[in-house]
């Protein structure tokens, strides 16, 4: 059981401040994903939770107990490292049972727990091997097994899948989701991959340059991004951002087309529209006219890069296949209610009645 509370956490290396004003509550049993571009401070935050990095300012509590000065070994937390950090001189079984060896648990109990974890992860036949004789995916499993045998009150993951190939990444992602459902333990998971974030998280924390930009459920972030950064970070391909001038109840694009939006008000400076919310129409219909530049056929979807006079490049995503060819003139319609509006500081403008 672990409910973690971060209050005004800040981190500085010497005089360089890399993180500030982090307020976050992680409920017991929750799966929270920290996501953000490389260098935004995800690992630093996770390491402060683990106790591997001292907290410069603020309070960190687990189950109401202040943890700032508590060393890692007394926090009862397991961590899976990006590089796995397996002990190279110990075989798989000893790696997995190391926490119990340290705690001087009876050998029979240790072997039992290691065997159980190995069975769950499909490592039964590898227990006597050294880490260097394992593939990347197997090492990753051993690292998870070590955390499971530890039986902690919370799990921390630092980009655990980033060294695996695409197919294995999908498989391990499901494995981690299954593990969370089975154990029900609190999990904090760091990734720069928004697909991992969207699929695993109960709640996502989006970080940028050491600050939290938004916290919310995956679909919340997708449907109601609080700012331009989150809007562009979540979703693939990236949301299109177009400069606009505000009018009463509508905005005007740079090519002169007018788009009705209830939330339009003075101060609106950019319109955001996801590629999947742009509808391809015949030229002349829709609000925008452009030329298809590149057509990418993904099978299930088609990505179309469209260049629009006066606006520039727009990305459009269509379900299924399209018969379009590069050079075709097409019209684009903005799905009603799907466009987002941002002010000059990048804050989202919402329709008046909602929040």
């Amino acid at each position: 059981m672990a409910r973690m509370e971060l209050n005004g956490i800040a981190k500085a290396y010497g005089t360089v401040e890399v993180m500030r004003d982090i307020d976050l509550v992680i409920e017991d049993g929750e799966f929270v994903v920290l996501v953000g571009p490389s260098g935004c401070g995800k690992s630093t935050l996770l390491r402060m939770i683990a106790g591997l990095e001292p907290i410069t300012a603020g309070d960190f509590t687990i189950d109401g107990e202040r943890m700032n000065e508590v060393p890692p070994r007394e926090r009862d937390i397991a961590m899976v490292f990006q590089s796995y950090a397996l002990y190279p001189h110990m075989d798989v079984a000893r790696n997995m049972g190391f926490s119990m060896e340290i705690a001087r648990a009876p050998a029979a109990e240790r072997q039992g727990r290691v065997a159980a974890a190995a069975r769950t992860l499909g490592l039964d036949t590898l227990l006597a091997r050294l880490p260097r004789a394992l593939s990347g995916g197997q090492r990753q499993r051993v690292a998870m097994g070590r955390a499971i045998v530890r039986d902690p009150r919370a799990f921390l993951f630092d980009e655990p899948l980033s060294n695996l190939d695409a197919a294995l990444r999908v498989e391990m992602r499901l494995e981690i989701a299954r593990l969370h459902r089975k154990l029900g333990a609190t999990m904090v998971y760091v990734t720069h991959d928004q697909v991992e974030a969207m699929t695993l998280a109960d709640r996502i924390v989006v970080l940028e340059a050491g600050r939290i930009r938004q916290i919310g459920a995956p679909l919340d972030l997708y449907e109601r991004p609080a700012n331009r950064f989150v809007a562009q970070f979540i979703g693939s391909p990236t949301m299109n951002i177009l400069p606009v001038t505000a009018e009463a109840g509508a905005v005007r694009l740079a090519d002169g087309s007018r788009i009705e939006m209830p939330q339009a008000r003075p101060g609106a400076s950019h319109l955001g529209i996801r590629p999947e919310h742009l509808e391809v129409t015949d030229p002349g219909e829709g609000q925008i006219v452009g030329t298809a530049d590149v057509v990418e056929h993904l099978g299930s979807d088609t990505n179309i890069a469209v260049s629009v006079a006066g606006i520039g490049a727009l990305m459009v995503r269509r379900q299924g296949t399209a018969t379009l060819r590069p050079g075709d003139r097409i019209g684009l319609g903005i799905a009603p209610g799907k466009a987002h509006l941002f002010d000059a500081e990048g804050r989202a403008l919402r329709p008046a009645p909602a929040d």
């Binding site: 591997l52 961590m79 590089s83 002990y87 070590r146």
Partner: protein, 320 residues
């Protein structure tokens, strides 16, 4: 990229061409597998033979001869006589025992203090660079000079050490321990410890720095105390390096006569005579090269046994 693939192909072609040109059959196989490799190795083999094997063989052959420069007419083959003399030589056995005290007394402290220093230098602290530079210092001093300096330090007339030891109650009065047969060996040993710490500190520090820091973090999260991290991560990682440095150092110390020769000359009353100094005095004071060679062969045999035992221990450590 393209040029590399081209050159590789050329190499392949030549190789297959050569195989085809060579006569097939058992004679060709014999040539290729038994004779040809040694032909290529022969320059190295000849060189090693000249600089190592020949002097070694000559040295060993001396031990079966009587070569005393003071009695040049008596020289000639004497069989095992030198070894028979050795067996009943009280001075030899005394030096034999002293060699153990000298070697392991020096080694244990050199290693222990060197490891401690390496662990210290592996942490971050102010002034680390300065300390690191100072650690090298004993090596920059010629052994002859450090021996003289230490001899003076142990001399109660000009050196402070006897007075400190007396003040601490370790000595009854401020006397020169180099003149006391019961204590004299500790004089050169102390000098040797000072001289040898840098070797262990530097080699072990290099090994320590190759241990990934994440392993300690993983161990800490697994609940390990600093001591458990040391015994379960640091020591296993250092073990191969420890085995090899301890072995090399033992051999080196056992053969290292300079400090003793300058500080005590083997005395008083042979109490600091080790095999290395005994060989030296036998050969160059008594000019009896045959007998000196016999002692040297005994020392060589001792060190070979020691090295074999240590290699066995090392192999067992590395396997687990």
């Amino acid at each position: 990229m393209e040029s590399r693939s081209v050159s590789r192909q050329t190499a392949n072609d030549t190789a297959s061409g050569e195989t085809r040109a060579r006569p097939a059959g058992p004679g060709g196989v014999l040539w290729r597998h038994l004779i040809e490799p040694y032909l290529y190795l022969s320059p190295a083999l000849v060189l090693i033979g000249l600089v190592m094997a020949v002097p070694l063989a000559i040295g060993i052959s001396y031990s079966f001869q009587s070569i005393t420069l003071l009695r040049p007419l008596d020289s000639g083959w004497v069989g095992l006589e030198n070894y028979r003399d050795l067996w009943s030589d009280r001075k030899f056995w005394r030096a034999f025992a002293n060699t153990f005290q000298w070697t392991f007394g020096s080694l244990a402290f050199q290693f222990g203090l060197g490891l401690g220093l390496a662990l210290l230098l592996n942490t971050a602290f102010a002034g680390k660079r300065l300390i690191q530079a100072l650690v090298f210092l004993p090596w920059a001093v010629p052994a002859f000079l450090s021996a003289l300096t230490w001899a003076w330090l142990f001399n109660p007339v000009i050196g402070p050490i006897p007075h400190w030891l007396a003040a601490l109650g370790l000595l009854d009065e401020a006397e020169n321990i180099l003149a006391d047969p019961a204590l004299a060996m500790w004089g050169p040993i102390v000098a040797n410890i000072w001289f040898g710490i840098p070797f262990f500190a530097i080699t072990l520090l290099a090994a320590l720095q190759s241990i990934p820091g994440e392993l300690y973090e993983a161990a800490e999260i697994d609940g390990a105390s600093p001591w458990q991290s040391f015994t379960k991560i640091t020591l296993p990682f250092l073990a191969p390096m420890i085995a090899i440095t301890v072995m090399l150092r033992t051999i080196w110390i056992a053969n290292f006569a300079d400090l003793i020769f300058v500080m005590t000359g083997g005395g008083p009353a042979d109490s600091t005579q080790i095999l290395a100094t005994y060989i030296f005095t036998t050969a160059f004071r008594k000019l009896d090269f045959g007998y000196a060679s016999a002692i040297a062969v005994a020392l060589l045999a001792l060190l070979l046994v020691y090295a074999a035992v240590l290699m066995m221990i090392r192999q067992r450590l590395v396997r687990t």
